[in-house]
Symmetry: D2
C-alpha cells in the first residue's frame, strides 16, 4: 500500500461476555472490541481506519464486501466459538491466504479460524487465578516489539501454559512466565498463503489487560506489521502451465 | 519404540487410476500402493511390518483400530480426494497430532488430510509433459537424504512448480528443478502436535517413478524418520491446572 | 525510524574487477557499487540517502562513525575477500547485531562478514557459462518480492548451485533454477541480534545483472525491509540481574 | 551408522573449577565431565563408547585423530573460554560442519566454538541466587524429550534469562522459567553444515544439576539425537561444475 493510504482494520469480537457478565461489562464498558480499537487508534491515529464487527450481526459482520475492504482483521472470542458459522470461517481463511493480515487474540487460540489456519488443536493449559504475567521479548529489533519494555509486566492475568499445540511459529517474538512457574509462547507469527498472522495471548475478559499501555502498543504494532503491501487479496491459484509460459509474461 | 520392535506401516492409496486406466495398471501392476510398499520393504526389511489400505474398503481401511496400530501412514491420492469422508480425515488428523508419522506423496498435496494439517490451499502449478526432474539435497546429513545422490535424476516426470501454497516447512530437505525451468520444494518436513509429516513430491501414476531406486530409498528413509518414539498416540490436551500442580507429578 | 526520516544506506564494494578487467569496466562504468546505488535510488528516491564505500579507502571506508550513521549496509566482494581486515569485520558484525541491516550480494556469499554471521563455510557450486537464471518467488506477499514477476528472468548469468552451506534461513524467499538444471536458494533472510540480513544471489561482474529492472527492484525492496525501527545500534548485552530487577524499570 | 555400531562420544570439559574450588570438587568428585559421562552411560549403556578430554591436555585433548573418531562431542566451559586456542576452535567447527554432533552445555553458551557456529554474541542475563528452574517441553514427541516429565523440576539452579543472543533455533524444544520470573530458551537445536547442535542450559558448577535424573536423561537423548548417520565427517565443498556433470555421477 502507498504510505499515504490508511490501514483498514476490522476489529471482530464475539461480544458475549460484555452483555452477559456484569464484571466484564464494568471492565470493558465499550466492549472488548471497543478497548482493542481504542488501543490501536491511540498509537496509529490517522494511519488506520477502524470498524468493528460482532457475532450477532448478519454474517457476523464479515460479509464478502467488508473482508475485501479489510487490510487487517483482529479476532477475539471465548464463549461462542461454536456459534461462528463454517461458511464465515471459510471466507476469512480465503481472505487471509489472499493477503489479509490477522491478529488472533488471547482465547481466540481456540477459535475455528485459528484451528483452521494452524491445522492443530491449539489446546493449552490454563488457570484463572492470581498470576502475574511477565512477557519477555525474545526478538529484539522485531517491529512487533517496538516501544515496549522487556518484560511487559501485567499485574493480574489468566494463566496460559505450555504445551500449546500449534505448529512451530515462523518467528517466536514473546515468551511469558506466570507466578505459578508456567511458561507460554505468547507472541508468535505465522505466514499462511500471502497473509501474515500474529497470535498474541495477553488479554482476558476478567482482567483489564486491554487497558494496559504496553499491551495496546503491541496490538498497534501488530496491525502495522500484518498489513499487506497490496490492498487486493489474491488467493494462491492452481494451474496447468505450458513449457516456457513465463517467457510471455509481462 | 524399542529398537527391536518393527515399525508398523500402513500404505494408503485411493486405488482408482490402477483400476480405470490401462496405462497406470501396466506401470503399477500391484497398484501404486504395491510399489510403495515394495520400496519400503526392500530397504527396511524386518524393521517394518506393512499393511495396505484403500479407499473402497469400509472406512477406507482406516478404522480406529488400524490407526491405533499404525506407526507411520503413507498417503497417495489424486482422482478421488473428494470421496474421502470428513470423518476419516478427522480421525487421521487426530492420530497424527497424537504421534503417528505421515508421508504425503505427490498428488496427495491436494488431499483433504494435507490441506487440513497445513491450513492452506496446497495449490501449485503443474504440467504433464516431457520434463526431467532433478531432486537436489539442500540438507546434507539429514536422515531423509541418506544413501541417495544429489541430484536424484528422474528422467521423465510430471512437473510441479512454485508457488506451492504451504506454510514454510520446518525443514526444507529437497528442491527439484524441471526441464522447463520450474522449481519446487519437493521434500518438506512439518511437525504437527506430536506427529512428524514428510511431504515428498516425486511419483506419478503416469510415470514409473515409484520404481526408481533413489525414490524408493527416500520413501524408506521417510518411514524410519517419521516413526514416533512412543507407540501409543497421545493427542495434546487442554486442561485447568491448580497452582503448583507439577510438584505432585511423578 | 519515523516515516519521514530517510534510510541511510552505505553501498560497499571491493571495487577490484572494475579497475582491473576491461570487460567489467565496460559493463559497470560507474562501478558495481554505482549500479547498485542507482538501482536503489531509482526505486526509493527521497526515502534513502546513499553513500558508497570501497576496500581501498582508509578502514575500507567503514569507520565507526560511518557505520553508526548507516541504517543499511550492502556488501559486494569477490576477488579480494582476504584483504578485508578482521578488525573491520568485527566492527560490521557488531553493528549488524546492534540493528544495522545488511544486504549480502552474489559472490559476497564467501565474504568474511557473511561467513562470520552464518557460522558455516558458505560454500557452493558454480559455473561461469551460458545459463539463464529463473528466480522464483516462494513467499508471495513478502515485502522483498513486491513489484517483480515470478519468475524473474535473467537471460545470462553465472550459475550458483546447491548445496549452499548456510544455516536454514529464517525465511526462504527466492529459489533459482539454471539452464543446466541446478537450483539455488537465491533469496534468504536471517535475523542476527537486532539486525536483519538479506542474501540475494543474482548479480555478477561479467553479466549486466545489476542493470536488470527486476533485480534492482529487489535490491530496493531489500533496503526498505532491512532498515531498523531504531536508528541507534544497540548490541545485546550480558548482565547480572537482581531478583525483581524489572519491577523498577521505567 | 549401523544400528550395531556404538556412538563414539567425547566429553570435553575445561576442568578448572573442579581443581580450584572446593565447593565444586565436592559436588563433582569425578569432575563435571565425569558426571556428564556417567549420565550418558547410565542411559545408553552399550550403545555408546565414551572418552573424556580436557583443556590442560595437549591440543586440549582434541587432536585431529580424536575428532575424526568422535561421533558426538559434548562441551562444558565457564572460567577459561579464552584459553581455548583458535586453532582448536577452527578444527572443531570443521568437524561439526562435516557431520559431528555437538552438545553445548550451560555456560558453554559463551564458548568460542558456540559463538563461532552461531555468528552472534550468545550473551544473556544471569543470577546465581536461589532460583528453582522449571524446564517445559514445547516439542512433545521430539526425541530430545523422551522419558522426562514436563516440567523438569530443578530445585536450585543458576538463573539464565532472555534476551539470549542466538539465531532463532531450528527447533525450540525446552523453555525454562525461574522463581524470579525470568524465562530462557533452554533447549535449542541447530543444523550447521552436516552437523547437529543441541544447546541445553541446565547444569552449573555450583549446583548438583548433572546428578539430576531428568537432566541426565536429556543429555543421553541429546547424544542419540546428534549422532550422524555417517561416521566419516565430510565438510561441504566449493567446486566448479561443467554443464551436465551430474549425468555421469554414480
Amino acid at each position: 500500500m502507498s504510505a499515504t493510504e490508511p490501514i483498514r482494520v476490522t476489529v471482530w469480537n464475539e461480544n458475549v461476555h460484555e452483555r452477559r457478565d456484569e464484571s466484564v461489562a464494568k471492565l470493558y464498558p465499550s466492549g472488548i472490541h471497543g478497548a482493542i480499537a481504542e488501543g490501536i487508534q491511540e498509537h496509529l491515529g490517522d494511519r488506520v481506519e477502524i470498524r468493528v464487527a460482532t457475532l450477532e450481526q448478519p454474517e457476523h459482520g464479515l460479509t464478502e464486501e467488508i473482508l475485501a475492504q479489510t487490510d487487517v482483521l483482529t479476532w477475539w472470542g471465548h464463549a461462542a466459538h461454536g456459534e461462528v458459522s463454517d461458511e464465515i470461517v471459510d471466507r476469512v481463511q480465503r481472505h487471509v491466504l489472499g493477503g489479509m493480515g490477522l491478529l488472533v487474540l488471547h482465547s481466540a487460540h481456540y477459535s475455528k479460524i485459528f484451528q483452521r489456519l494452524m491445522g492443530t488443536t491449539c489446546r493449552l493449559g490454563w488457570r484463572g487465578g492470581d498470576d502475574r504475567e511477565l512477557v519477555w521479548n525474545v526478538a529484539p529489533g522485531h517491529p512487533l516489539t517496538e516501544g515496549v519494555p522487556s518484560p511487559i509486566n501485567i499485574p493480574a492475568q489468566e494463566m496460559y501454559g505450555e504445551f500449546f499445540d500449534i505448529p512451530q511459529p515462523d518467528e517466536l517474538v514473546f515468551i511469558s512466565s506466570f507466578t505459578g512457574g508456567e511458561v507460554f509462547r505468547s507472541g508468535c507469527t505465522f505466514r499462511r498463503g500471502r497473509g501474515r498472522i500474529f497470535y498474541f495471548s495477553p488479554g482476558d475478559q476478567e482482567y483489564p489487560v486491554y487497558h494496559h499501555a504496553d499491551v495496546r502498543r503491541v496490538l498497534a504494532n501488530g496491525v502495522a506489521w500484518a498489513a499487506p503491501a497490496q490492498r487486493e487479496h489474491t488467493e494462491p491459484q492452481i494451474g496447468r502451465w505450458e513449457t516456457g509460459w513465463f517467457d510471455n509474461q509481462v
